[in-house]
């Protein structure tokens, strides 16, 4: 046994096991699954942002070729609405307004794309043909297309029983102490900013297959989900009234989620319900147009903020008033995003002693808005990091100096912020120093001058950010209104000959869990990564789980695996003690080898697993056979990744064309399991952050029609829009989970947008620009330059 096995444990850049099937087109996605006797669904969707349905005539459609059944809201009147998973309370203690979100529209449609009818037919084109033959009479109503419209006097009510269009009016922090801080401030920096609405656009459109077996009364849903157990819970308990034991939810390979596949969507409930009516499987696959129209959108905040500073530039207090768009209905976690995932982050990495934030959530006639990569934290980070830059400029303090002056120092952890969170660890000075060095901050003015010689405006921008992820302690979120626990589940199954199957409640949709999680097992149990299989995404296989979002898979799911491996090792040591006739206290374990301390007597993990499953010589009276353990892990706190992003841009003043020429990210994501995967995650997140900052704008026209409804008008970032993103990490360990990990999935999208916009504003510093709203498109930049034309040299 002298074969040298390459180290594949924690810290090794093991190549992703899953990539062979993904890159060779052999992944198995929901749409790749076909059930015997399968039929196809097409949803007839509202062309109007707001209308009353006066009648639906199905007569012609029902006679169309291939049509099996057509359902409308009336058929589903007695089933539940799609629930919201987080109840927020108003300032006065009353609960938020929570309108029913029917699976199919009942009486009224509330956004373009709201589902009116479900057609089930032998083929997809037949279903679509029949949908086109359905005659719906609409009484078109004026729409509330955006938040200002929805809150104007006499605004149309999206929900008749909520005339204000306000879902909740919530606050956090101490108003009085914040007011007092402002009263004694030397400087007050005021600022209004928009966090632009985004359309997620995962590469794989959503899809769902409902299947029903009348002989067992079992329902199966195959769906593009980041969290199949959550879908089973929400759909089974709240919508369709199916016990968990009769409902299986499978989320196979999923082609990207970015948050948009967390939520329980009406299409999932509709095909599951209808399959039990027609007694045949029903497949629905969104086309890209439906993705644009019906996937939950992200962001969409309008914020007024004020920062109070003393004479030295120390932050004294922060006030924030935010309006957050909910869209027409409350998506699964929509209500938590602009509250507990946003306002609790407003301290950032700074010692701001007092903060008061008010958030109004507003209904509009647009598609629901919910978590999108970063969820609340990019909005908070954009606000803070723009505000700090503006404050630096208006107080005359250097933008690096003002950050250093206000950073939470490493000796202050654990650090209690004024907005509920207690940070466990971090070192913002080191990530700042590393990023400044890596980006050659000191040499920037020479690069600016060089660019100027070529007629370009070059700017540099920095963002020093912190985020909270690894969600979440169940008791904490429960007290804040979450209707679920946020622990995770791990099962470690050591097979008789020593290979391992892991069942995890997290879900991989591109992150590389099949590799990273296998590395945890390899590191602890000494099993080669190739012999560790990660099973996820099937409620029939995995005991339970809350899924993947909020950068939680490793911090929470990985920790559950560690707990289960603790149990494996404890049991295996007892078996080893028996086999080696030693006291269990004398058994040492290291990466697959059990040793009697101080002797050369050893047993391998395979010796133990074989004994456990073939218990001929086995302490059967004391220890059960088998080697499989389950652990549920509920985190004690959130995790707090942070770091520093530095961006350089060049602007061509003639056209406003802008290019990112340099991007440096130095992140503290806690212990790094696979550096290559972390690099990829950060780069992907930064690409999305650059997309938000420079390219992506979801636009509804004033009547409520989605204008940016296709790739022709919605600018997704492409390779040539991006610069090389240099990624480095600086580790401080998370103090409360067994791996010391913090999470890396969202840091790129959270940290980068303000770095980009700070760079744009810096590039335009001679044009009197205080702020540029995202996305900073060429047209917008040209118009800024153009309206400051007197300062321009004639071209």
């Amino acid at each position: 046994m002298d074969t040298i096995i390459p180290f594949e444990g924690i810290g090794a850049s093991v190549k992703r096991k899953e990539d062979l099937r993904f890159l060779s087109g052999r992944g198995r996605y929901t749409d790749d699954i076909n059930r015997p006797g399968q039929t196809y669904a097409w949803f007839l969707r509202s062309p109007h942002p707001h209308a009353r349905i006066t009648s639906i005539d199905l007569a012609a459609a029902k006679t169309m070729p291939g049509v099996i059944a057509i359902f409308t809201g009336e058929d589903m009147a007695d089933i539940g609405g799609v629930p919201c998973g987080w109840q927020i309370h108003n300032k006065d203690g009353t609960p938020m307004s929570e309108p029913k979100h029917p699976v199919l529209a009942q009486g009224k449609v509330r956004f373009v794309g709201d589902a009116v009818a479900l057609v089930v037919a032998e083929t997809r084109p037949q279903a679509r043909d029949a949908a086109e033959a359905i005659m719906v009479d609409y009484e078109v109503l004026p729409a509330a297309a955006d938040m200002p419209q929805a809150q104007a006097a006499g605004a149309p009510a999206v929900h008749d029983d909520i005339p204000s269009n306000i879902c909740y009016d919530w606050h956090i922090g101490d108003k009085d102490t914040t007011d007092a801080a402002f009263a004694k401030a030397k400087h007050v920096v005021k600022f209004e900013l928009v966090n632009n609405r985004l359309i997620p656009n995962a590469m794989e459109p959503r899809a769902a297959i409902g299947d029903y077996d009348p002989t067992t009364d079992e329902h199966t849903l195959y769906t593009t989900s980041q969290n199949p157990h959550v879908i089973r819970l929400l759909m089974g308990a709240f919508v369709l009234n199916i016990p968990e034991s009769k409902l299986r939810v499978v989320a196979p390979d999923v082609g990207g989620g970015f948050g948009s596949k967390i939520f329980h969507y009406i299409e999932e409930a509709a095909v599951t319900w209808a399959a039990a009516r027609v007694h045949r499987p029903i497949k629905w696959t969104a086309d890209r147009t439906e993705s644009f129209m019906t996937d939950a959108h992200g962001r969409d905040h309008i914020t007024q903020t004020e920062l109070a500073l003393d004479t030295d530039g120390k932050f004294l207090g922060l006030r924030v008033v935010t309006q957050a768009n909910m869209g027409a209905y409350l998506s699964t976690f929509a209500t938590s995003v602009p509250t507990y995932l946003y306002a609790t982050l407003l301290a950032g990495c700074y010692q701001t002693p007092t903060i008061y934030a008010q958030v109004k959530a507003v209904f509009t006639n647009t598609v629901p808005v919910d978590a999108y990569r970063g969820a609340g934290r990019p909005e908070a980070t954009f606000l803070i990091e723009r505000l700090v830059d503006v404050a630096a400029r208006e107080t005359g303090i250097d933008k690096i100096e003002i950050r250093r002056k206000n950073f939470i120092r490493p000796d202050q952890f654990p650090y209690q912020t004024p907005v509920a969170l207690e940070y466990d660890s971090g070192d913002y000075f080191s990530t700042l120093d590393m990023a400044m060095k890596a980006s050659d901050w000191a040499g920037f003015e020479a690069r600016r001058a060089e660019a100027a010689r070529h007629g370009k405006l070059r700017g540099i921008g920095i963002s020093t950010y912190l985020e909270a992820c690894g969600i979440a302690p169940s008791a904490v979120v429960g007290a804040l209104g979450a209707r679920a626990g946020l622990y995770e589940v791990g099962v470690i199954r050591v097979h008789p000959t020593g290979s391992v199957t892991v069942l995890t409640g997290t879900h991989s949709h591109g992150q590389g869990h099949e590799t990273t999680l296998a590395q945890l097992v390899s590191d602890r149990l000494g099993v080669p990564v190739a012999n560790v299989d990660i099973v996820h995404g099937d409620t029939a296989k995995v005991p339970f789980g809350m899924g993947t979002y909020g950068s939680r898979s490793l911090a929470v799911g990985g920790s559950a695996m560690v707990k289960a491996m603790d149990k494996i090792v404890a049991k295996a040591k007892r078996i080893a003690a028996h086999l080696m006739e030693a006291d269990v206290a004398d058994i040492e374990f290291d990466r697959g080898t059990f040793r009697v301390a101080g002797t050369d007597k050893t047993k391998s993990l395979t010796d133990i697993s074989l004994a456990a499953y073939v218990p001929h010589n086995y302490p059967i009276e004391e220890i059960e056979p088998g080697l499989e353990e389950t652990a549920f892990y509920d985190p004690k706190n959130f995790t707090y990744p942070g770091g520093c992003h530095i961006c350089e841009v060049e602007i061509e003043p003639e056209t406003g064309a802008i290019s990112v020429v340099n991007f440096t990210a130095v992140d503290d994501v806690g212990r790094v399991i696979n550096p290559m995967i972390v690099e990829g995650q950060v780069q992907g997140g930064v690409a999305q952050g650059i997309g938000q900052a420079l390219l992506e704008a979801c636009v509804y026209d004033p009547q409520g029609q989605l204008v940016s409804g296709s790739m022709m008008d919605y600018t997704m970032p492409r390779a040539d829009d991006l610069a090389p993103v240099s990624v480095a990490t600086h580790t401080t360990l998370c103090t409360h989970n067994p791996l010391g990990v913090k999470g890396c999935g969202e840091v790129g999208a959270i940290g980068s947008p303000p770095a980009v916009i700070n760079a744009v504003v810096d590039a335009l510093r001679d044009y009197g620009v205080r702020h540029v709203e995202m996305p900073a498109t060429p047209a917008k930049i040209w118009s800024i330059i153009h309206s400051n034309a007197p300062r321009m040299a004639a071209e």
Binding site: E654, M712, D713
Partner: protein, 264 residues
């Protein structure tokens, strides 16, 4: 897409016959515009006449002082043609910057010009070089061919067969892309040669058009500075979420200047 009949004629004459017989038929060559429209059910032809089997419509040749390019010639072929690169490098350059690799590998010159998308590249070059459009029944001067957004002089039963480009002394092309679609937001194709001095603007308006003030200025003095001072009127230009008419009007000047620089 909706169902349709499919024909693949082997000659232009057969294609014309099919087209004349069915007023709801559509011609398809590269399909890069038509197929997405079909998939979105935005178009419902009763039949598709696939021109890809007509060998006569393919190829690039030099005829006298012109370059003649068959309607079915793909963008990649124009972009990489030695004949085109030697005679009209600006045309090869333009073709090499249409869409992306996939579009250039499928899209054809005849399809692009017949479709006359205001944001397409080719109409700018065809008008900008004063080309002649050959059809199944006649020859049409570029100045008479383009008739505004998605409209051309082609009759219902007429098929574009080739385009004849007179070889200019100089020509240049510059464009600003729409950030989302990567179609042309504003472009300028300039040339000087047997067809006079031409400045043609694409992308910015509802169709390609000649910028006569710039043509006059360049005729007097062929230099980037000659067009730089001329303001394009924003009236009638396109305005959308990607840029106002004023922005496009400004870009017209910038692109014209760059096109002149490129032309040398």
């Amino acid at each position: 897409m909706y169902d349709f009949a499919y024909h693949k004629p082997a000659s232009v004459a057969d294609a014309v016959k099919l087209l004349a017989a069915d007023p709801d038929a559509k011609l398809v060559s590269g399909g890069h515009t038509l197929l997405p429209a079909l998939k979105h059910r935005l178009n419902k032809p009763s039949s598709l006449i696939d021109l890809s089997g007509i060998a006569d419509l393919k190829g690039i040749k030099k005829v006298g002082n012109s370059i003649v390019i068959g309607a079915l010639t793909r963008h990649v072929e124009v972009a990489t043609s030695d004949v085109v690169t030697a005679a009209i490098p600006a045309l090869a350059y333009m073709a090499s910057h249409i869409g992306d690799v996939q579009v250039r590998n499928r899209g054809t010159i005849g399809g692009s010009v017949s479709n006359n998308d205001p944001a397409a590249d080719y109409p700018g070059a065809v008008l900008g070089l004063g080309a002649t459009i050959h059809t199944s029944k006649r020859k049409i001067a570029a100045d008479d061919f383009f008739q505004g957004m998605f409209t051309t002089a082609l009759e219902a039963d007429e098929i574009l067969t080739a385009i004849e480009f007179p070889i200019p002394e100089k020509a240049g092309y510059a464009k600003m892309k729409n950030p989302a679609s990567r179609y042309v937001m504003a472009g300028a194709f300039v040339s000087k040669g047997p067809m006079g001095v031409r400045v043609v603007i694409n992308g910015a308006g509802p169709g390609v058009f000649r910028q006569s003030a710039m043509e006059t200025a360049l005729a007097a003095s062929w230099a980037p500075g000659a067009v730089a001072g001329i303001k394009q009127d924003a009236d009638g230009l396109n305005s959308d979420i990607h840029g106002s008419a004023e922005y496009r009007a400004h870009l017209v000047g910038v692109m014209a200047k760059r096109a002149v620089i490129a032309a040398g």
